[in-house]
């Protein structure tokens, strides 16, 4: 395509298949303690 470059394809859809184990860190325990930025958290299965 000339006008569009796909950087990432459907990562949320893929995550549905392996997700939900609950082993990852609670977001509030990371650095913020006051907000819920989650998109930077690591999946325990990728660790």
């Amino acid at each position: 395509m000339k006008h569009i470059k796909v950087v990432a394809k459907a990562c949320l859809k893929n995550s549905m298949e392996k997700g939900g184990c609950g082993e990852c860190q609670a977001s509030c325990q990371s650095a913020c303690k006051t907000s819920c930025t989650v998109a930077n958290q690591k999946c325990e299965k990728d660790a």
Binding site: K5, V6, A10, S35, A39
Partner: protein
């Protein structure tokens, strides 16, 4: 749902529901921006943009968008039935231990009333701490990875108990085949060599509170005598990080309405040699809180910070900013993105007396006490309001493109401003959206630093 955004001359489209990300030229950005605001008819779009672009180019771009749509990468429908129950079984696997309801600093914006949480100054006993870990082991059921954050007030003023609880946790790990990840949030005002050794041996993550420039830090973070804490804290933080190797840490600051030029504070922290940095706004009340009228300035400041971050990387002096770190190649699963912190469901706070609350910011709030670890009481039904506290159940979140990046926001901020954990705090949402465009733009530019669309 889509979102068309940009950082500098990097234009992108986020396909919200699938999590797909597209680097686009300005023409496609303009088209998507019109679509985002409700214009869907091709002829109408062509007409609206005909003064800026040749019709043949617009037609070509519309065809490419149609191709993406065909592939399920543009305006994809929600992947989950919004009414489906998600994560609805409480499993407490993460604790915030209020090891000290006391502090050796008197920070003006402290949500915990200078460590007291609007109660009396008190320290957690070893007995309460051990009972809290027993509670965690019992409640965590099949979860293997558990978390315990030593929090306060200032946890290091009760260091002997921190050591005893950690040692007990190591015993429990072996006995129950668990992994307990201890972390600490400290002001680093009083740190001995023994504390440095202990922290860097036992704490998986260390969060140190520094607000940035000396004058900004000292204006709010004073000791009991009213003197600024900057010099001591910087020296102690450097000692802690110098011997930490590649273990996790964050220098975590707070910005207020008084320093809307907070990018300078992030840089001031980086200039002290720290590379992992987070800065959080004061949002809920008082004269220091960020107001809606501050949002345009905040948006500009996050973008300025993004430019500074890139410049530092180019100079070989990189640092990371917590809220700019997004990962489109893996990152957390959708389930995680619906309910980030897990307050009252996966996460709980324990007070010095052993009282259990859904999170550290609910401590002392009437109606939120869930039990007591010493008395062996726990009523998970107190956490029931949190069961539905996720993205799919909040009307404001359903219409927001940032919903899978913030997981619906902080329940405590919501409660503190509206009395309702289901009603996200609007200014916090605006701040989240303001920094997201920069975060995504930086991500694309990291992946393909010189690429043009």
């Amino acid at each position: 749902m889509i979102h068309a955004g940009h950082f500098e001359d990097t234009y992108f489209i986020l396909d919200v529901e699938s999590g797909s990300l597209h680097h686009v030229d300005e023409l496609v950005y303009d088209i998507a921006h019109l679509m985002e605001t409700g214009m869907v008819d091709g002829a109408e779009i062509t007409s609206a943009l005909s003064g800026k672009y040749p019709p043949t180019d617009i037609a070509e771009a519309l065809e490419e968008i149609a191709e993406l749509r065909e592939d399920g990468l543009f305006d994809c429908p929600c992947l989950v039935e919004p009414s489906a129950p998600v994560f609805n079984k409480p499993v407490i696997k993460s604790l915030c231990l209020h090891i000290a309801h006391d502090c050796n600093l008197r920070c003006s914006y402290c949500f915990a009333s200078e460590g007291t949480y609007m109660g009396e100054r008190s320290l957690m006993s070893e007995e309460v701490g051990k009972a809290a870990l027993d509670f965690l082991i019992a409640q965590s059921k099949g979860r293997k990875h558990l978390e315990v954050d030593f929090f306060g007030g200032e946890p290091l003023i009760n260091f002997s108990v921190v050591k005893a609880i950690t040692a007990y946790g190591r015993e429990l790990e072996k006995r129950h085949n668990k992994v307990i990840r201890f972390t600490m949030t400290t002001n680093a005002y009083h740190v001995t060599d023994e504390m440095v050794d202990f922290i860097n041996r036992e704490m998986k993550n260390l969060v140190i509170s520094i607000d940035g420039r000396r004058e900004i830090h000292d204006a709010e973070r004073k000791n009991a005598a009213g003197q600024g804490s900057y010099d001591k804290v910087i020296a102690n933080a450097k000692r802690l990080i110098a011997s930490r190797g590649d273990q996790e840490y964050y220098i975590r600051g707070t910005y207020t309405a008084r320093n809307l030029d907070f990018a300078n504070d992030v840089l001031a922290i980086a200039d002290q040699g720290f590379r992992e940095i987070s800065l959080e706004p004061v949002v809920t009340d008082g004269p220091l809180a960020i107001q809606e009228s501050d949002l345009p300035a905040i948006d500009r400041e996050y973008r300025r910070l993004g430019r500074m971050l890139e410049a530092r990387r180019a100079e070989g002096r990189p640092f990371h900013f917590f809220h700019f770190m997004v990962d489109f190649s893996s990152g957390p699963c959708l389930n995680k993105r619906l309910r980030g912190c897990g307050a009252g469901m996966e996460y709980a706070a324990i007070t010095p007396k052993g009282d259990i609350y859904p999170c550290h910011q609910f401590v002392g709030k009437e109606g939120f006490k869930m039990g007591n670890v010493l008395e062996g009481t726990f009523d998970p039904s107190v956490g029931d309001p949190f069961r539905d506290c996720h993205v799919f159940k909040k009307p404001e979140c359903q219409a927001c493109y940032a919903k899978y990046f913030c997981s619906g926001g902080c329940a405590a901020n919501a409660y503190n401003t509206s009395g309702d954990i289901m009603k996200p705090h609007a200014v916090s949402c605006m701040i989240q959206r303001a920094r997201l465009d920069t975060a995504i733009g930086l991500y694309i530019r990291r992946q393909e630093p010189s690429a043009e669309v």
